[in-house]
Symmetry: C2
Subunit: 122 residues, 2 copies
DNA sequence: GTAAACTATGGAGTATAGTCCAGAGTCAAG
DNA sequence: CTTGACTCTGGACTATACTCCATAGTTTAC
């Protein structure tokens, strides 16, 4: 799969794919170079890019994701430490959820108040 | 309330408060100037800053918030249109929640797989 | 065999959201 | 009446995450 195809599949630009590579989020485990130096991406690359996209939508930075991936994929941490690392990430996600719930309540109140106002004005 | 006090209360820097002002998120309805040109902030400013903070934690940009605030506070939209606007924002929030749930499931799976691995290795 | 469409690289430019700094004025305490 | 802590302004600087561009090589279709 050449760069244009994977970019289209994931829904990002070609430049973005190359940018992620420069940032160390994609490496030679995700693609091979043919004789003409073209990158040929594997299914693993698809998964990696989907993960990055998911993480970004959830509000994580590329830096955070690179660190988390590194923590998970190397042997610098024991399995228990890896689990502990990811559990901390889960807590961060919970906090983000709480922020969403808070603003949702805020908007809901605003909307209710506006509806009331519409009802009670002649 | 001078700028240092409100910055401390909200938990942002003085520069950030002034930056928000430049961005049109705070105006003379949020503070008055004394003879020495010092800004004196009101409770309304506190509420506005808390809203901005909430919105940012939820992943909205300053631009989006400025637009939403403008839509809500001017008379360019009818009450019904304002409600419709905010309901669309509610949908965006739902999408963000979904992204969080997705990545949470992903992490959960990873963690489970790692636990399995720990159990089954000698 | 050439034009269109693709790939490569390096580097410049953009938007967002601040952060820092210089130079100047203000205020409260001792 | 000076020292230290505060305020003001304008502008330069930073990090993140792209995006665009020039230049050059490659492949596909006619």
């Amino acid at each position: 799969m050449l760069i244009k195809e994977i970019a289209n599949r994931i829904g990002v630009s070609i430049d973005t794919i190359r940018f992620y590579e420069k940032q160390g989020l994609l490496d030679d485990t995700h693609f091979e170079r043919s004789a003409n130096r073209y990158r040929h991406y594997s299914e693993v690359a698809i998964q990696r890019l989907q993960l990055i996209k998911m993480g970004q939508e959830a509000g994580f930075t590329l830096n955070e994701m690179r660190q988390a991936i590194h923590a998970w994929e190397t042997d610098e941490l024991t399995p228990d430490e890896k689990i502990a690392y990811m559990c901390r990430k889960m807590e961060e996600i919970e906090q983000k959820r709480q922020a969403l719930d808070d603003i949702k309540d805020y908007l809901q109140c605003k909307i209710e108040a506006m509806r009331e106002q519409i009802m009670t004005t002649p």
